[in-house]
Amino acid sequence: MVEQTDTGKRPDNESLNPDELMAKIWQCLSNVSDPEVPVLTVLDLGVVRKIVLKLDGAEFVSEIDDLSTSITSSPPKTPPEKISVLIQITPTYTGCPAMSMIATNIKLELIANGIKDVQVEEILSPAWTTDWMTESGKQKLKEYGIAPPQAKARVEKMLFDVSNVPCPQCNSKNTEMISEFGSTACKSLYRCLDCREPFDYFKCH
């Protein structure tokens, strides 16, 4: 996914001010996709929570706050000699095997963009929720054939709870759950009773 080519036109990160550099890092992250659901980027999923950028001694922090990103930084001084980045990610599910691959892919993407000192740290709290998925992410999921999460996540649900998940193929709400556990931890198995297609549902979590 990430190609490291040395074209000699490596972007000069040292000449960017902290805001621009931060924006560039967010841009890089928007190129990193989820290995199991490749239509979603790690930003669509909401697994990237925070970027800490260190320029020599100064520290700049940018956190993802639902859909918006906020940048707090003080004005840059001289071009920094040392640029290092810490990125905090949070796992979707505890046992999700994609996390280490996501961490590796984030590092590779930043290295390819000239940022070499990258650390990726896994944090657990606040626990990831599908409420953090972007609207464009949900749209992309549906186009990919996976029904996006339908409601706000909640821990307590009734037994034998039936939620009407619209079929991503024909939009019919006449669907039924086959199993709450699907091909990956984040999905359930459904079938459409109108077009008869089985489909994955990215469950509210």
Binding site: Y93, T94, G95, P97, L124, A127, K157, L159, E180, A185
Partner: protein, 246 residues
């Protein structure tokens, strides 16, 4: 705190391993996937706890050292989780007893004064809620199902009943953990656990066995012979080829 963390982690790892044994053998493909999904959650939870235990120990160990290089008497899991899968009803009974306990346990553990332990519990709770719903629904389907499924489900509940006592009997390190504010004394959640259990068994039209003699020992490292067989399979690779990676 080390022993307390190992207790939590060992419970998750051993039940996770037991459920993983169903992989490829489930009564239906969807059930097979459900059990392996739950197994993956539990092994992931165990990993977080072992990693934290190793970090606190500060001797450069990793979560793998704790999972793969301790012997039977070092494990602190309850006897319930090491019991064999048996038939599907027995697996459901074991999971249901554990999940109905674990759900309230993780909920209480979210209040831990230890930040990392509270974070692990917060994360686990969301997953454990699925586990409890899954095992409750199956207990009800089988209990309130055909004559044969009811008979098998009742037999499983009766068989495993004597392993429930240990869950709700605190070990010294749990009492210490609750006192120090980082852990949970299971007696604090006993009422909620019993209520959930009765509610589900009633809906499943199953009889509540009488409380009699209860097994104990797992929490202090005295295990049934089953754990040795589990570890023999689980740890074989690391024992035969130390530090091998792929």
């Amino acid at each position: 705190m080390q022993e307390y963390l190992l207790h939590l982690a060992d419970n998750a790892l051993i039940l996770g391993h037991r459920l993983s044994e169903w992989c490829g053998h489930g009564p239906a493909l969807e059930i097979d996937m459900a059990m392996t999904n739950i197994s993956l959650d539990l092994i992931g939870q165990a990993r977080n706890l072992y990693a934290y235990a190793a970090e606190l120990e500060g001797q450069g160990k990793t979560e793998d050292d704790l999972a793969y290089l301790r012997d039977v008497n070092g494990f602190r899991n309850v006897l319930l989780v090491e019991q064999p899968n048996g038939d599907f009803a027995q697996t459901i009974a074991r999971s249901f007893f554990y999940d109905s306990y674990n759900y309230f346990y993780q909920k209480a553990l979210c209040e831990s004064h230890d930040k990392q332990l509270a974070a692990i519990a917060e994360k686990s709770l969301k997953e454990v809620a699925y586990h409890l719903r899954w095992s409750s629904e199956w207990a009800i389907r089988l209990g309130d199902g055909t004559e044969e499924s009811k008979q098998k489900m009742q037999a499983a509940i009766d068989d495993l009943w004597s392993f429930r006592g240990e869950l709700l009997t605190p070990a010294a390190y749990e009492i210490e953990a609750a006192k120090a504010g980082y852990g949970v004394n299971p007696l604090e959640i006993k009422e909620e656990v019993e209520k959930k259990l009765q509610e589900i068994l009633l809906e499943a039209t199953l009889d509540l066995p009488a409380d009699g003699w209860m097994h104990s020992g797992g929490k202090t490292g005295r295990h049934s012979e089953h754990l040795g067989f589990i570890l023999a399979e689980m740890q074989f690779l690391q024992r035969a080829y130390p530090d091998s990676t792929w």
